[in-house]
């Protein structure tokens, strides 16, 4: 695009406009790069809302596509610039503007890294629960845009539950601030939560007001080794049905425990077919009561082994290993496709059993399941021991079967990663044509020229 660098350089400091081929190459996509890569015409790194607004006005006037980007840790290709144009790298808008103890709220810029935010609020005795396993890098803007969730989802819900208000730059450059800092609002359509999960297709989120909780005083971690995947699924259901709500319940397959053992001393037994990594939080008394209850259930279920980790520092090593799981598995395999089909909690055992059956029929790829079991967010993943066309074919067929299974159990195609381009086909399956048409009309109302992150959410993406 001729003159693009020059024009943008008038709106934003020149060194924050990048058009060298090497830089454009680096902004081709996220963790789904192996499926598809885009190539922007320019990368812009804005430092404040008015710069974003200026860039949007320019893009709107010239009908240039704009793709917002946080850390590029997405697992659905959300920030992949499929139609070129401008990538807006939001990482330089990384200021925590306010942490308000009395209102239990915070105001942040979109590029703040989640783990930095966790640390900052913790220092004040506060707690921001959403903890996607990419938390050391992913941005709050990206979290809001995908409604990210994490292991804490079981007890505390997802990012959307913590968004009180936003500042958004619309495609034509105008700035709006839906929601606010009040704990409740019934003021018309809930635009705030429409932007939550909008994946950069309606506007650019520049700031967010987030709800905070009090930091639970104590934590405890336990690992349960289960005889079979079914037993693990049933144990989760029993724990939840019994009324105990752990802060996190993660479901980890045998293959992954072998990898995690590199991080854990002493290593866990590897005989289990599946493992549950459980965190409890609350006062010491509450934790003790929960622990007793869970131990009782596990014994009744006849699990293989239970390890309780009292020391918080030691427990940290288990959770670090958990967040590195995806990458660690890649040390054994050549490639992975991560799905995030979620099912209602009471259908977990059924879902797990069916996945098991499906896995036993595969020959070219390995179908594994690991994830945030507590809220039915099960992350079936496909691993490639070798990458070739046969394996690709089997993988694609399997993905479709898994999605159909999830939907047939009343689940959803995406529990937390969003749709991007990667799951666009499946969104139609879940929502049906009437809802898709409605979504398109909403999109049109916000983005009449179709410049915001085109190619996403539904098949033609406009």
């Amino acid at each position: 695009m001729k003159g693009l660098a020059r024009d943008l350089g008038r709106l934003v400091a020149k060194e924050r406009v990048r058009t060298d081929p090497e830089d454009l190459f680096a902004y081709g996509g996220d963790a789904t790069y192996y499926v598809k890569r885009g190539k922007p015409d320019a990368v812009v790194l804005p430092e404040n809302t008015s710069e974003v607004s200026e860039v949007m006005k320019y893009a709107f006037h010239n009908a240039i596509p704009v793709t917002p980007r946080g850390a590029g840790s997405g697992l659905s290709g959300g920030c992949t610039p499929l139609h070129g144009g401008i990538v807006l790298d939001m990482k330089r808008m990384g200021r925590i503007l306010e942490i308000n103890r009395r209102n239990m709220s915070a105001r942040v810029e979109a590029g703040v890294v989640l783990a930095d935010f966790h640390k900052a609020v913790k220092k004040q005795g506060l707690f921001y629960p959403p903890n996607p396993q990419s938390m050391n890098v992913c941005t709050l803007g990206g979290n809001v845009a995908t409604r990210a969730c994490g292991p804490h989802g079981v007890k505390y819900g997802a990012t959307g539950d913590y968004v009180m208000g936003l500042e958004v730059v619309l495609p034509d450059g105008s700035v709006i601030a839906p929601g606010g800092l009040a704990a409740r609002s019934s003021a018309g359509y809930d635009l705030t939560h429409l932007f939550a999960g909008s994946e950069g297709t309606l506007g650019v989120i520049t700031k967010a007001n987030l709800r905070l909780l009090a930091l639970p005083p104590a934590h405890r971690t336990a690992v349960v080794a289960c005889e079979s995947i079914e037993q693990a699924g049933d144990t989760v259901s029993e724990i939840l049905a019994g009324g105990t709500l752990p802060a996190m319940i993660e479901f980890i397959p045998q293959m992954a425990i072998v990898a995690m053992n590199n991080y854990i001393t002493p290593p866990l037994i590897t005989e289990g077919q599946a493992y549950l990594l459980i965190a409890l939080d609350g006062t010491q008394d509450e934790i003790q009561a929960q622990a007793d209850e869970i131990l009782g259930i596990c014994r009744r279920m006849g699990v293989l082994d239970i390890r309780v980790i009292e020391d918080e520092k030691e427990a940290e090593t288990y959770w670090t290993a958990r967040s590195n799981l995806g990458g660690m598995l890649l040390t054994m395999m050549k490639k992975a496709i991560n799905e995030d089909v979620a099912v209602p909690r009471d259908r977990i055992p059924e879902f797990v059993r069916e996945i098991q059956n499906m896995a036993s029929t595969l020959s070219k790829v390995v179908l594994g399941i690991a994830g945030h079991a507590g809220d039915g967010n099960m992350h079936p993943s496909i691993f490639f021991p070798e990458v070739n066309s046969e394996a690709e074919k089997e993988a694609q067929e399997t993905v479709k079967k898994v999605v159909r299974l999830g939907l047939s159990l009343g689940g959803t195609v995406s529990g937390e990663h969003g749709i991007g381009f990667h799951k666009a086909e499946f969104l139609h399956w879940e929502l049906g044509e009437v809802q898709i048409r409605l979504l398109k009309r909403i999109k049109k109302a916000f983005d009449p020229k179709g410049i915001m992150n085109p190619g996403k959410l539904w098949k033609d993406g406009r």
């Binding site: 990048r18 060298d20 081929p21 090497e22 830089d23 190459f25 680096a26 902004y27 081709g28 996509g29 996220d30 963790a31 789904t32 790069y33 192996y34 990368v43 790194l45 850390a71 590029g72 840790s73 790298d89 990482k91 330089r92 990384g94 890294v113 783990a115 990419s134 050391n136 890098v137 590195n324 799981l325 995806g326 990458g327 660690m328 890649l330 040390t331 050549k334 992975a336």
Partner: protein, 399 residues
């Protein structure tokens, strides 16, 4: 590292998860994806392996603007050895010719010739001729370590172990007192020390220069000298020299090189000195030393799991000495070998963050096992001293 091709599979292991964003000091200053390990490797593949994009000035900048600090590799859940891949790429692009001939020659002489006359002035003059500001480099000592200490240093009591001491260039010319503390503390703890003759630079600076032939030249001198010693361990006070011998040396040589088995055997014996002492234990109880200090963990620590905690444990044995922990002890200081000379502003920005953390502790003594960190931090840390942990231990012993 002599060839990129063998790293093709390792590069393919990068899942593009982006987790390396959390620890790459360059990325955390630039906030530009291009300078992140995943993009660096994608570019290396596209440019050098597939030839899809030509080698440009910008590509060379992407290769050069890396500290080879290994933070990304240590963060990477897939264990991709990013630093080695970048070093191999530099070698392929520069083939030893990153600098103009005059600068290259100077660097070669500085790194490859030990004990030559007038070496003391050399560091300064190299820096001057290369256009590096002399104030960023400490003044060389009036007499290098190897002019002061030679041969065998007997253990104080009955020797319970025998070690060879690899004296890094920085200790030799800039910090000979650290070398003195190393041999004194070892001997004081009943360990006999050999200072093998004929050692030269470990080769790390040459590796960063993309000058693999020079690295190999150094290996051919160092490996026989060190591997030939009849000792229980080879110790160094520098984490970069240690990493070079422990984790990289063999890989810098071709697969079928006859020196490779020797380099591999040597690697088994290599220790950073505080790590070694901590593992073997002290025989001399340190007297009290009422001093508080803080501890900066050098980037080149991934070659052994215990080197970062070793000074904490060892100095924890000195009564009344108090460690005030940094908020992020392992955050980079920006030096990166000679990186700070090439990317002055960036390195200084990284250092500013580190110094702010240090000042927050209130400690007047900063300890670290990397001479590059030490000199780079010291130039802007007027409030106190930056030194090697072993120096504090020697001070406690009064030796």
């Amino acid at each position: 590292m002599h060839d990129l091709e063998p790293y093709r599979d390792m590069m393919a292991k990068c899942s593009h998860c982006g987790l390396c964003q959390a620890t790459c000091p360059v990325y955390l200053e630039d906030f530009l994806q291009t300078h992140l390990a995943r993009a660096r490797m994608d570019l290396i593949r596209a440019v050098l392996l597939e030839g899809e994009i030509p080698v440009t000035k910008r590509f060379r900048e992407v290769l050069d603007r890396c500290l080879l600090c290994t933070n990304c590799s240590r963060t990477c859940p897939a264990g991709v050895p990013v630093d080695e891949i970048i070093a191999a790429a530099r070698n392929q692009v520069y083939q030893g010719k990153r600098r103009d001939p005059v600068r290259r020659q100077l660097l070669r002489r500085f790194m490859n010739q030990r004990g030559m006359k007038g070496l003391m002035g050399m560091a300064g003059s190299v820096a001057h001729k290369m256009g590096w500001t002399p104030e960023e480099l400490p003044a060389p000592a009036s007499k290098p370590f190897e002019k002061r200490f030679k041969g065998r240093i007997p253990a104080k009591g009955k020797a319970r172990a025998r070690v060879a001491y690899f004296v890094g260039c920085a200790t030799n010319t800039l910090y000979p007192d650290t070398g003195k503390a190393v041999i004194n503390v070892l001997a004081h703890n009943d360990i006999e020390v050999l200072i093998p003759e004929g050692q030269v630079c470990c080769g790390m600076p040459a590796l960063a220069e993309g000058d693999l032939p020079l690295v190999q030249e150094m290996m051919r001198k160092n490996v026989p000298v060190l591997a030939g010693c009849d000792v229980d361990a080879v110790v160094t006070d520098c984490t970069s020299c240690g990493m070079m011998f422990k984790a990289k040396a063999a890989k810098t040589l071709p697969e079928d090189d006859p020196l490779r088995p020797q380099a591999e055997a040597l690697a088994e014996k290599v220790w950073e000195v505080t790590d070694y002492l901590n593992q073997i234990g002290l025989t001399a109880e340190p007297p009290p030393l009422p001093e508080s200090y803080t501890y900066h963990i050098p980037c080149h620590r991934g070659w052994t799991p215990t080197v970062d905690d070793a000074p904490r444990n060892l100095l924890g044995k000195i009564p009344e000495a108090e460690l005030i922990e940094l908020e992020n002890p392992d955050k980079c200081c920006g030096a990166g070998g000679t990186f700070f000379m090439d990317f002055k502003e960036l390195a200084a920005d990284i250092r500013t963050g580190k110094l702010a953390d240090i000042r927050q502790t209130g400690a007047k003594t900063v300890l670290t096992q990397c001479p590059a960190c030490r000199s780079f931090l010291r130039t802007q840390f007027e409030d106190g001293q930056v030194t090697h942990p072993i120096v504090l231990l020697a001070k406690a012993y009064g030796i």
